[in-house]
């Protein structure tokens, strides 16, 4: 579950939190693209390091580390499967290259998790919804999206209450074999789903009684505006993309093994 911890927004203020979510999203997409176009370890390492200043500046180190730790399990699986399969096809004489290849694929995954977690850690659901709205996505979708994000902690709390209530009626979640343990969760899941449905119906009624959908042209109390920081980020994003594409097209990138071989 801790991989989701890294996606949970906490209300803190920093230069990164103040950035326009639209620009941040473009930045994340750019990082994503760059991570996809390189399969060599060195550029991916650079990409990984580029984002550390953002984490530090945003003051979300602890949460970010938690999400990295959460991703560690999947990363290990990615490393092992890639290593095993390329080892089988490439043979034992190329072990160093195989390790590097598996590392690169793993690092690519980590870079993706890293950039998305920085995005979600520093963007409040409200601002995200606002960004969606201002990109002319129909309001119904924006609303559904922000509500879903906002209700995750509410549901988590409710799940905890229901778990407490069932434990108080003698339910032991950790008892029994694998199948029994899965079945132990039925008394928690059913009330949780029922209450989520009830809650959504109540929410719909409350929304309608507050004139939901009365006019087509909704206005907003806040509007997103580009500030100086946003322009810097646009510059940084464009820079990263240009350099990456240029390097990709013009140079052969040495592998870490070759590089170390040349240096020593």
């Amino acid at each position: 579950m801790s991989v989701f911890e890294g996606l949970k927004f906490r209300r803190v203020y920093s230069p990164i939190h103040d950035l326009d979510p639209r620009i941040k999203f473009i930045y994340v997409c750019a990082i994503f693209t760059v991570a996809i176009i390189f399969l060599e370890l060195i550029p991916l390492m650079i990409l990984f390091l580029i984002q550390i200043p953002f984490v530090v500046l945003a003051g979300v180190k602890r949460e970010w580390l938690r999400s990295m730790r959460g991703a560690a399990f999947l990363a290990t699986i990615i490393f092992l499967t890639n290593f095993i399969f390329s080892y089988i096809s490439a043979g034992p004489e190329n072990t160093a290259a195989t390790v590097e290849y598996a590392c690169a694929l793993t690092l690519r995954f980590i870079v993706l998790v890293e950039s998305f977690s920085v995005f979600f850690l520093t963007t409040s659901p409200d601002r995200l919804g606002l960004a969606l709205e201002q990109t002319h996505i129909p309001y119904e979708f924006c609303f559904a999206f922000t509500t879903a994000v906002r209700f995750v902690p509410v549901l988590a709390e409710e799940a905890q209450t229901i778990m407490d209530a069932q434990k108080a009626r003698g339910l032991e979640l950790e008892r029994g074999n694998f199948l029994k343990r899965i079945r132990n969760y039925i008394p928690i899941l059913i009330p949780l789903i029922v209450s989520a449905i009830r809650r959504s119906l109540e929410l719909a009624e409350a929304m309608e009684s507050r004139a939901w959908g009365a006019t087509k042209n909704r206005t907003n109390l806040y509007a997103l505006k580009m500030h100086r920081g946003d322009f810097y980020l646009v510059g940084i994003t464009a820079g990263i993309l240009t350099v990456a594409i240029y390097v990709r097209l013009s140079f052969g990138i040495p592998s870490l093994n070759d590089l170390l071989g040349w240096l020593f």
């Binding site: 209450t161 209530a165 069932q166 108080a168 009626r169 003698g170 032991e172 008394p187 009330p191």
Partner: protein, 274 residues
């Protein structure tokens, strides 16, 4: 017996909910825990069946320290009815819902059947035996939840805000039910804001504020002391307010229920007539 010794509890988010609570609740006692929102009432009672474990101090249920037992073992002695107990329901029929805990505790089939029938009768739910709990009204669902706890006959019964959202008739039934449990020497602990309800049933009152116990004693003493009550954001029962305001007529101050008030007023009128 339930005993808390210098109990401290801090939630993982850093909120210090209990700051040195010590108390003893003897078998067969009827206790109402009152206090403002966020005073730590629910946090305190969640320690009584081990749902929360102290971050400082200790809690004992009959000599067993709660940190050394699972919730399931403690729950066998301590029944806990949650505030939104109707939210815990999940079975296809009311009958199965009530049997859930009995199965968890490993009761035999024939005993389960007998206990279910007994609990359905007790809470006036027999006609819903085969109905889905989700088809029932809010008040009925609460009764199903209560029945599902009473079915295993716990020695201690804890109820969190049992009167919230209940009409007068339901409250009256709850009162009768509590009195009946009292005659069976069950320990009953309720957490409530409802002063009028507490005034009617004369329990021992434990008043909490900001994670501490600020008063502990008979309902009559505590509910008639506005200075203490105000610290816990509680106003005295309406009858008490009248008597406090009329105290210059030499009326007693410590009056909390209507029967008593009637007696006192009749006495006063008789004296005046003489």
């Amino acid at each position: 017996m339930i005993e808390a010794r210098d109990l401290y509890f801090t939630y993982p988010n850093g909120v210090e909910a209990l700051k040195g609570v010590s108390l003893k609740i003897k078998n067969g006692e009827f206790v109402a825990i009152m206090g403002e929102n966020g005073a730590g009432k629910t946090t305190l009672i969640k320690h009584f069946n081990g749902l929360l474990k102290p971050t400082g101090g200790s809690v004992f249920i009959d000599e067993t320290e709660t940190t050394k037992a699972t919730v399931a073992t403690l729950a066998r002695k301590v029944g806990f009815v949650f505030q939104n107990a109707d939210k815990q329901l999940f079975s296809e029929t009311v009958e199965e819902e009530i049997a859930f805990a009995l199965k968890n505790f490993g009761f035999k089939e024939n005993i389960i059947r007998r206990r279910v029938t007994w609990a359905l009768n007790l809470l006036d739910l027999t006609q819903y035996r085969k109905t889905s709990p989700f088809m029932l009204s809010g008040g009925e669902r609460k009764r199903v939840a209560l029945a599902s706890v009473l079915a295993w006959k716990p020695r201690v019964l804890i109820m969190d805000e049992p009167t919230i959202g209940q009409d007068h008739q339901q409250k009256e039934k709850l009162l009768q039910f509590i009195l009946q449990m009292k005659t069976q020497r069950k320990t009953i602990i309720i957490v409530t804001h409802d002063v009028e309800f507490v005034a009617e049933c004369h329990p021992r009152v434990i008043l909490m504020s900001q994670g501490r116990i600020i008063a502990d004693g008979e309902a009559r003493k505590i509910l008639t002391n506005p200075e203490i009550l105000i610290q816990a954001s509680i106003v005295p029962p309406q009858i008490t307010q009248i008597f406090l305001q009329l105290s210059n007529l030499k009326l007693p101050r410590e009056v909390i229920d209507t029967y008593e008030a009637r007696e006192k007023l009749l006495n006063l009128l008789e004296k005046k007539a003489e």
